[in-house]
């Protein structure tokens, strides 16, 4: 797209993109480290992630301020307006992803000793999948690639399916041995966090589609999370 007649306007928009890229980089890094902390029972790494989260929060505030200032000063229209709106929304998704990564890091403390390693493997697999989704959607944003965003959006079903199977697996463990209820609950929350991260990635994908096309995503979202009914089914089977 050609430049604005007012050059400072281009700079304003470019600044927003840069800040969002920074936020994305941090969120990705924190999530990767949280997964590693979980997989390797590395409580030091977990603490690092917990301590770093406020960086993302600060960036979000900063981005919001700049975005509001840009709206006030430039009265953006059409794609410029979408660019700014989408930046605000994506920033809020990234901030949430940061929070979720931090929460996973916190839980890795509780999970670290009490659990046989193999139980955590499914969870780290889920984590890696959510990280992949985040990476792909951030790439799609940087290159404003609608097709790639759509791919991320469709892939979320896989993460939901994995969540369902982990959910069932953990339920079985808990039913077999009540002493496992504590640690398994932590794992369950961890799994839920990864699933939520996937949802935020699909939100970002939807925003990219809106940015590029000017229209909201039409199809029904690929929701395959069935755990809200699973518990009852399993209990009834007993």
């Amino acid at each position: 797209m050609s430049d604005h007649i007012v050059k400072a306007y281009d700079e304003d928009l470019a600044n927003l993109k840069t800040m969002l890229a920074q936020m994305g980089g941090l969120a990705e890094d924190h999530l990767a480290k949280a997964i590693e902390a979980l997989a390797k029972r590395d409580t030091k790494l977990a603490d690092y992630v917990i301590g770093q989260d406020e960086k993302i929060d600060a960036l979000e505030l900063q981005l919001e301020e700049r975005a509001i200032l840009t709206i006030a000063k430039r009265q953006p229209m059409a794609r410029d307006l979408r660019e700014i709106m989408v930046a605000i929304r994506i920033a809020s998704d990234l901030e949430r992803i940061g929070d979720l990564a931090k929460n996973i890091a916190k839980r890795s403390h509780a999970i670290s000793e009490a659990l046989p390693r193999k139980l955590a493997t499914g969870l780290t697999r889920m984590g890696r999948l959510s990280l992949e989704q985040l990476k792909d959607v951030l790439d799609a944003y940087t290159t404003t690639d609608d097709a790639k965003a759509l791919e991320v959006w469709r892939n979320d079903g896989e993460l939901d399916a994995l969540y369902n199977s982990i959910f069932r697996e953990l339920l079985t463990y808990m039913m077999e041995d009540p002493r496992m209820i504590g640690p398994c609950t932590h794992l369950l929350f961890g799994a839920k966090n990864f699933e939520r991260i996937g949802d935020h990635a699909t939100n970002i994908a939807e925003n990219i589609h809106y940015l590029v096309s000017g229209r909201p995503m039409r199809e029904e979202r690929p929701k395959k999370d069935t755990t809200s009914t699973t518990a009852f089914d399993s209990l009834n089977e007993r």
């Binding site: 050609s2 604005h4 007649i5 009265q75 229209m77 059409a78 979408r82 096309s213």
Partner: protein, 271 residues
């Protein structure tokens, strides 16, 4: 899939044009000033009871087209209009049509407020009187008061109706001109940058007024302020170099225009 079905033309027309009755229909209109081709093969449907905004850079033909709607271009000797413009299905360039009657049906408000050098009362009373709209003095008085009220000016001037129209502030003068335009009970009101000489408060008053008037009139406004077009209109038409580039619902034009030229213009990218 629904999107695969080829939609008929009527469905692709702007929503506002489908919801409201058609008031002005232009087909293949060309306007020339001597050798200069000012408007090139323009076709548009303008709905009733709505505000339609024409936007575009200077010299794009938006004012020229606006002036073709009440045949004001007739007064320019070198100007030639071809094609077809209909109001309520009647060809306004028909030889048998009385231009004076036509202009009584189509009010016009200009960039600079231009009240007559007469009293406030006379400014509004003049039109209804010469067109014989009032049976007697009481009748005329009522028309003047109602028009001033509709234009949102009455409260400010009710104690000095005999003062000169030119003694009012710019914003008040412009509202006086709008009162004068609506006094003859027109069907269409054309506005050529009605706020460009006004401060933001007076502008807001006029915009509020336009919003009220659209219930009963077909309003066409030419404006250089994109924000104003976005605020007051339901239909927006973008002109460029004598061509009508894009027409659409205002909500769509300012959030997701289809044509790159529209996008470039409204986002401030035109070189």
């Amino acid at each position: 899939m629904d999107t695969m079905i080829k939609t008929p033309v009527a469905d692709s027309a702007p929503r506002i044009a489908r919801e409201r009755p058609l008031k002005i229909k232009a087909r293949n209109v060309d306007v020339y000033y001597g050798e200069k081709h000012a408007i090139n093969d323009l076709s548009i449907d303008i709905p009733d009871s709505a505000v339609s905004a024409f936007i575009g850079p200077s010299g794009c033909g938006k004012s020229t087209f606006l002036r073709s709607i009440n045949r004001m271009n007739d007064t320019i000797p070198s100007c030639r209009v071809t094609g077809n413009i209909e109001i309520d299905g009647r060809d306004i360039y028909d030889r048998g049509l009385d231009v004076v009657q036509l202009r009584a049906r189509i009010g016009m408000v200009f960039q600079k407020p231009n009240p007559f050098p007469k009293s406030i009362y006379e400014n509004v009373a003049y039109g209804p009187r010469i067109h014989g709209f009032a049976k007697n003095k009481t009748d005329l008085e009522e028309i003047v008061v109602t028009s001033l009220k509709k234009a949102g000016l009455f409260e400010e001037v009710k104690d000095r109706l005999d003062h000169s129209g030119t003694s009012l502030s710019g914003g008040q003068q412009q509202r006086l001109c709008i009162a004068r335009a609506i006094a003859v009970n027109p069907e269409v009101i054309l506005m050529d940058e009605p706020c460009s000489a006004l401060d933001p408060i007076a502008t807001a008053r006029i915009e509020e007024l336009i919003d009220e008037l659209r219930q009963n009139f077909c309003i066409v406004i030419v404006t250089h302020s994109m924000q104003q077009a976005a605020r007051v209109s339901q239909l927006t038409a973008f002109f460029h170099l004598g061509n009508l580039v894009e027409v659409g619902d205002t909500d769509d034009i300012f959030t997701a225009p289809k044509d790159k030229r529209t996008q470039d213009y409204i986002t401030g990218r035109f070189g």
